[in-house]
């Protein structure tokens, strides 16, 4: 009985709330598979690529939401890399509160079947903050019945699980200097859409370059 109580108490104290969100995008793009592969595997350049800084305009005011400040990679093989991503929410200068995570990305390219795919999964046993899990799947092919012969079909799926208590810490710090606007700015930080909106914007901008 005592053991059971200890187990239950331990479970409750260790469990944290999480919010899940996902989105998909599919478009026919003019670029060929080489260009698509090149874009998605420029891991070290992610932070300087289009879409890395996300702002929203509301009632004539531009509000800087989040930007990617670091994207570093280490190749494990020709098709597998580890990618370290750090984001800076709006005006935060406390690096401990930056969303950060390590992705394991694998690509698959088959010239004969004319497709390219990339699968990235967050590495759980390395430091991460803000996110509990993340999974990105990219798939592109030529000769799709959905697109013209000169286009590539490009599909991306992003699944995000945020860590609610860590997002709350970020949100609290972000709102600190807002003073009378804190309650207004708080409207922007809907947990399920904060990261989702950022990555949705990021990939929308990438798609535009293809």
């Amino acid at each position: 009985m005592k053991t059971l109580l200890i187990l239950i108490t331990g479970f409750i104290s260790n469990s944290s709330f999480a919010a899940y969100s996902e989105f998909n995008k599919q478009e026919c793009v003019r670029s060929d598979l080489n260009a698509i592969q090149s874009l998605f595997t420029r891991y070290n350049d992610y932070a300087s690529m289009p879409g890395s800084s996300y702002s929203i305009d509301v009632a004539g005011v531009s509000f800087p939401m989040v930007k990617m400040t670091k994207s570093q990679s280490k190749a494990i093989s020709a098709t597998e890399s580890l990618v370290w991503i750090v984001l800076q929410p709006t005006n935060l200068t406390d690096g401990n509160l930056y969303p950060k995570f390590l992705l394991n990305c694998k690509i698959d390219r088959n010239e004969n079947q004319n497709y390219f795919s990339q699968k990235c999964q967050m590495v759980q046993d390395k430091p991460h903050f803000g996110l509990q899990d993340m999974k990105i799947e990219v798939y592109s092919n030529r000769n799709s019945k959905n697109c013209s012969p000169k286009e590539s079909n490009l599909y991306i799926s992003v699944k995000i699980t945020t860590n609610s208590s860590e997002v709350l810490k970020i949100k609290t710090k972000v709102l600190e200097p807002a003073g009378p606007l804190a309650s207004v700015v708080a409207n922007l930080f809907d947990e399920s859409t904060f990261f989702q909106a950022y990555f949705d914007y990021l990939y929308t901008e990438w798609f535009k370059t293809l």
Binding site: E22, F23, N24, Q26, I56, V58, A59, G60, V61, F63, P64, K67, T69, K70, Q72, S73, K74, L82, W84, V86, Q88, T90, N91, L92, T93, D94, G95, Y98, K100, L102, Q124, D125, K126, P127, H128, P177, A178, G179, P180, L181, S183, V184, V185, N187, L188, D190, S192, T193, Q196, A197, D200
Partner: protein
């Protein structure tokens, strides 16, 4: 008879596959609608709040500019540091 049965199985499989694809497309559209609705709702709430503050005489643009001026990012661990940490527990 056998041919008819095979054809029936083939037709049913094709129909099921079609339903699956339609269902996927539907889910995709629903997900997009949901995202758009959430973003619109947030923007509306934000715009309403800003308007309300402006009516009260709060110069929201000035407050925004002062409070949310982009600041240089803090120094954070590099990938080599991260890879050298065995577990998340060790970092904390």
């Amino acid at each position: 008879m056998k041919k008819h049965s095979l054809f029936a199985v083939f037709a049913m499989t094709a129909a099921l596959f079609g339903c699956g694809e339609a269902e996927k497309a539907n889910q995709h559209l629903e997900s997009m609608d949901k995202t758009l609705a959430q973003a619109t709702k947030q923007a509306e709430r934000m715009a309403d709040s800003i308007e309300a503050l402006q009516k009260l005489g709060v110069d929201t643009v000035k407050v925004f500019n002062n409070s949310f001026k982009p600041k240089p990012p803090a120094a954070t661990d590099d990938i080599e540091d991260i890879l050298n940490m065995k577990t998340e527990g060790e970092k904390k």
